[in-house]
């Protein structure tokens, strides 16, 4: 037997939680509220007959929850007092830099808490002049630094020393620019969410809306695992959480499990036992820049599909997975996120018809996990 490598695969983390939506202490609201930037939502609905309806509803909601891509935004624009008063202090603002790799480039993000986070390289940090901390995942000689600027305090106004220093560093010292993905939820229903795009257009920047990319796959005669919300470890009657997780991943990637069996040369992955047959399984994938408003809406829709069906068309369970951005500076809340060999930060809800759910939170090597 060849010797295995001592420090083989990177350490990844998987947190499994089993709870119920009716439980007042349920953490699903908190998890979705603090997952600021979601890139993709994968919905897997076996046994469901009205998935087409769901697809239609998703394309309808797209017009209401608009996100924008703005090219070459100078960072000092984000500390502009007018911008802060209009968008940061009122409503909820979500900003993330695009096409920047978190491990090699500078990244920027603004959270609804009013913090501007700059995740910058060592060279940029030494030239910028703003105080920051080394990244949590850095070794003895840090290569990346995190600069956190709080935009909301009243003391952060022009004329004050702190503000002037920040503005001078971002504007005159180093003119950093980013391509930004922006979404703003106004505090007042009368104000349109597109006012943020109008603000940047007035500064002479190129603003384009970010459309959602919806892909649907239908698989016929699929073997699905038998799942019971109370059975977490595999038994004779139901599959365990680990088997269910792998099966969900296989469905999301579009892997055909019908031909494979344990002694097949090409692949040994097969549907876990015990399994049942499902006539049609729908896999919906929606890509874009989503905020907690959209993710909560999608979860509600999936729950509706699973919980509201009558006995005849009963859907025992369905799943929705929210993939975070691999280059996001945070995973959940203010927990720092990095990219090592993978930048996973995803949360998957497996909802049952009795309002129980299983929550899988998968994190990569450079992620903080309790």
């Amino acid at each position: 037997m060849a010797a295995p490598f001592a420090n083989g695969a990177p350490n990844s983390k998987l947190v499994f939680e089993k709870s119920s939506f009716d439980d007042p202490k349920s953490s699903h609201e908190r998890v979705l509220n603090t997952k600021y930037f979601t890139h993709n939502a994968s919905i897997i609905l076996p046994y469901s007959s009205s998935a087409a309806q769901l697809q239609f509803e998703i394309s309808e909601i797209q017009d209401q929850q608009v996100t924008y891509l703005i090219r070459d935004v100078p960072v000092h624009q984000l500390v502009d007092k007018e911008f802060i008063e209009a968008f940061v202090k009122k409503g909820q603002l979500y900003i993330l830099s695009q096409r920047r790799h978190i491990d090699t480039h500078n990244c920027a993000a603004v959270f609804p808490t009013g913090h501007l986070l700059l995740h910058i390289t060592k060279d940029t940090y030494e030239q910028l002049g703003l105080e920051g901390k080394p990244s949590v995942f850095s070794s003895l000689k840090p290569t990346k630094y995190v600069v956190d600027i709080d935009l909301k305090p009243d003391s952060f106004t022009p004329g004050r020393k702190g503000y002037d220093r920040v503005l001078w560093c971002l504007k005159d010292r180093l003119g950093l620019t980013f391509d930004l993905l922006i979404s703003w939820n106004p505090h007042d229903e009368k104000i349109c969410a597109s006012s943020v795009s109008k603000f940047f257009k007035s500064k002479g920047l190129v603003v384009s809306p970010v459309p959602w990319c919806v892909q649907t796959q239908w698989q016929n005669k699929v073997r699905t695992p038998v799942l019971d919300s109370t059975v977490v470890t595999a038994t004779e009657d139901a599959c365990g959480r680990a088997e269910a997780w792998e099966w969900l991943g296989a469905m999301a990637c579009g892997i055909d499990l019908s031909e494979s069996c344990a002694d097949n040369y090409i692949s040994t992955l097969s549907c876990p036992t015990p399994s049942g047959s499902c006539p049609r399984c729908c896999v919906l994938s929606v890509s874009g820049f989503f905020t907690p408003v959209t993710t909560k809406w999608l979860l509600e829709k999936v729950r509706n599909e699973v919980e509201s069906k009558q006995e005849k068309n009963k859907v025992p369970w369905g799943s929705v997975t929210f993939h975070g951005f691999q280059d996001s500076p945070v995973s959940v809340g203010s927990r720092e996120h990095g990219f090592f060999q993978e930048g996973d930060n995803l949360h998957s809800f497996l909802t049952f018809c009795n309002k129980d759910y299983w929550l899988y939170s998968a994190y990569g090597h450079h992620d903080l996990c309790q």
């Binding site: 940090y125 030494e126 030239q127 910028l128 002049g129 703003l130 105080e131 920051g132 001078w168 560093c169 010292r173």
Partner: protein
């Protein structure tokens, strides 16, 4: 008058027994009449070693030697012969290099800066920095030039609060630069882990502080070796 110390035959030989006195002549003893001090002197002369007696002196001086006490020989101390230096505390207490508050104003240091510009014009004439090769030669001269009075800016630093500090150099020590900024603030910036920029004749010269930690006076003779990396 007879001396107290003088003695006659009776007194001198009074201690002897009378039979010796009477039969003294038979024994060959001769009676002498001399003074007490003469007796002592002659006795000492006969019995003491010669070096104990002072030459040409009648007085025998007694020398006391205390066997229990030893006298240390005083060493010839070289260090006490050196000049006494000031300790760090004393030097700081004298505040020789501290510029008084009334002189800590940017406008007062501007004439110094003008003088420095003239000095640099002599060291590196503006006409000589036209070609890239000449710029390289100018770099060598800047390294050896006096920077006090020049306008430097901290371009990069491991500590972000030093970045952007710009002013006229008031003092240069082995490890620091002391600037006066345009807002009349005196800032002392360590050379370590900082990169300074100097503008001269339209060119910007970059000084890597970590490799520049030499006293200003010694810089003219120091040979600067190339380092493997200029990373901070």
């Amino acid at each position: 008058m007879a001396d107290d110390k003088s003695c006659t035959e009776e007194t001198l030989y009074s201690g002897l027994s009378p039979s010796i006195v009477s039969h003294g002549s038979k024994l060959g003893l001769q009676a002498r009449s001399m003074r007490q001090t003469d007796v002592v002197k002659s006795y000492l002369k006969r019995h003491l070693p010669a070096n104990r007696l002072m030459a040409n002196e009648d007085n025998i001086s007694r020398r006391q030697v205390h066997l229990s006490r030893t006298v240390k020989k005083k060493k010839f101390d070289l260090t006490s012969q050196k000049k006494k230096k000031l300790t760090n505390r004393e030097r700081k207490g004298m505040k020789v290099f501290k510029i008084p508050k009334e002189n800590q104003s940017y406008s007062q240091q501007l004439p110094l800066h003008q003088a420095w510009k003239q000095y640099m014009e002599e060291v590196i004439p503006s006409s000589s920095v036209s070609s890239p090769g000449a710029v390289q030669a100018a770099c060598q001269k800047v390294v050896k030039a006096e920077l006090q009075g020049g306008m430097l800016t901290v371009q990069r630093s491991k500590c972000p609060s030093y970045v952007g500090v710009c002013g006229i150099v008031m003092q240069e020590t082995r490890h620091t630069f002391t600037f006066i900024t345009s807002s009349d603030k005196v800032k002392c910036v360590p050379k370590e882990n900082s990169i300074f920029a100097l503008e001269l004749h339209g060119h910007i010269f970059t000084i890597h502080g970590s490799h520049f930690k030499v006293k200003a006076g010694e810089r003219s003779s120091k040979k600067f070796k190339s380092k493997p990396t200029t990373d901070l």
